[in-house]
Amino acid sequence: MRRLLALLLLLQALYVGTAQAKRPLLQLVVTQPYIEMRSGPGRGYPVTYVVGRDEVVTVLFSRTDWYKIRASGGQEGWTRRADLAETQMISGEAAPIPPYPDFTTHRWEVGAGYGVFNHENLATAWGDFALTNSLDAELVVQQAFGTIDNRYIATFGLRHTFLPDFKWISPTAGIGFGYQYVQDREPPAPLQKSNQLAYISLGLRGFITRRFMWRADWRKYEVFTNQNQNEEPDEWKVGLAVFF
């Protein structure tokens, strides 16, 4: 409990520290007939104020697709990304509202999912960086819950996406290496607690909506042991990811 309180205090201190560092705020000129300001960052919140053409608004910060703005009279409210993207800077240039990330050319991807590793439950999470539109470097961390042991597996690999322009479904293939740590649940203890491993994978990926995508993968591992035979487990998994 004390640790938790200390953490909260630290967070608070961090926040105050960043909040007090004065940043210049972006000012934009409304070019459309008017833009609406809502009381909250969501489509259902009521409109509380309307800013007219040629008026200047200050952009405070954003949350998801909504931007908190301040009108010249001091009124504050939330406006949607699409509305703000049509405004202009005071210099006359277009407002620097970043476009929606495009699925085909996205750079980063973070996801998690469920799988089956050697007939055992598997929890998986991954981070992915696109080197090109069709080649990704991926880091995967997962835990397999067996009846006699519990494994932590971390892998790093490359994955190629065939037909990256196919938005809804496109096949992938990958290769990589990693490390596993085996924690004993029931005796006898495993002969080796940690192993190096390598894998090949085949999979599918696709776009869902906005910034969401799905991924399904099959992997065949080669776990290098100090026995006469290597272990060759396989794995199925499905997951949901967000791309940036």
Binding site: M1, L4, L7, L8, L11, Q12, Y15, T18, A19, R23, P24, L25, L26, S39, G40, P41, G42, R43, G44, Y45, V59, F61, S62, R63, T64, D65, W66, Y67, K68, M89, S91, P96, I97, A112, Y114, N121, A123, A125, Q143, F145, N150, Q183, R185, R210, R211, F212, L240, V242
Partner: protein, 224 residues
């Protein structure tokens, strides 16, 4: 003599201008007539640094991080305090991803209370630790009114996810689902009330069964 000199000069000018006609398609270099300062140096030397215009960046506050404290009812092992940390990323106005990490300590089963000599779980095994990876959906976003002049943004959300529960020194695959209420005190500070159930399979009390471990917690988070 004078007229001869002037005619030579005139001819040169005509020929040169004729030559320049052939180059009319090219861009003639801008002629700079710079008067060499003779003797007196110029008094004003313009040294105006170029102004750099930086477009201010808009800060995105999509991340939420904080802690929570409450009560966890561990099936067969009584209700005990629980504390944890949580971090969320808000993807859209409706959907967010959230991770939890928490710890509690189990009490004794009724069997152990009645027969103090029996121990179902060793003392070190009574720690109940979990991590969860969840997907959340803001089912009922809205506002909560306090008196006449105050309104707080809020959302009732549902979460579903998977993770690990470590209990009795064993890791179990666990599913969790629940609902919570998020109340934003300011734009960056939120209060949470959550109820979640962690379900996993165990044979700890003799036969294999699914156990439900329901927690009710109070949380405090900051958006950044």
């Amino acid at each position: 003599m004078e007229s001869r000199l002037s005619s030579v000069l005139l001819a040169t000018v005509v020929i040169l201008s004729g030559c320049s006609w052939f180059h009319r398609g090219e861009k003639a270099p801008a002629e700079v007539v710079a008067e060499e300062p003779q003797g007196e140096p110029s008094i004003v030397e313009p040294q105006v640094p170029r102004r750099e215009i930086k477009t201010p960046k808009i800060k995105a506050r999509d991340f939420e991080i904080g802690g929570y404290y409450g009560a966890l009812s561990i099936q067969d092992f009584g209700t005990n305090p629980i504390y944890g940390i949580r971090a969320a990323y808000h993807v859209t106005e409706d959907i967010f991803l959230e991770g939890f990490l928490a710890r509690s300590k189990a009490g004794t089963t009724s069997l152990e209370d009645v027969f103090p000599d029996i121990t179902v779980v060793s003392d070190s095994g009574r720690h109940f630790t979990y991590y969860d990876l969840d997907l959340g959906y803001n089912v009922l976003p809205g506002e909560i009114f306090l008196g006449r002049g105050r309104a707080f943004n809020s959302a009732l959300y549902a979460t579903f996810g998977l993770g690990d529960v470590k209990f009795a020194n064993k890791d179990q695959f666990a599913l969790n689902f629940g609902a919570g209420e998020r109340l934003l005190i300011t734009d960056w500070l939120a209060v949470h009330l959550d109820v979640r159930d962690h379900v996993f399979e165990t044979d700890l009390t003799g036969r294999t069964k699914n156990v439900h471990n329901i927690e009710a917690t109070f949380g405090l988070t900051a958006f950044y």
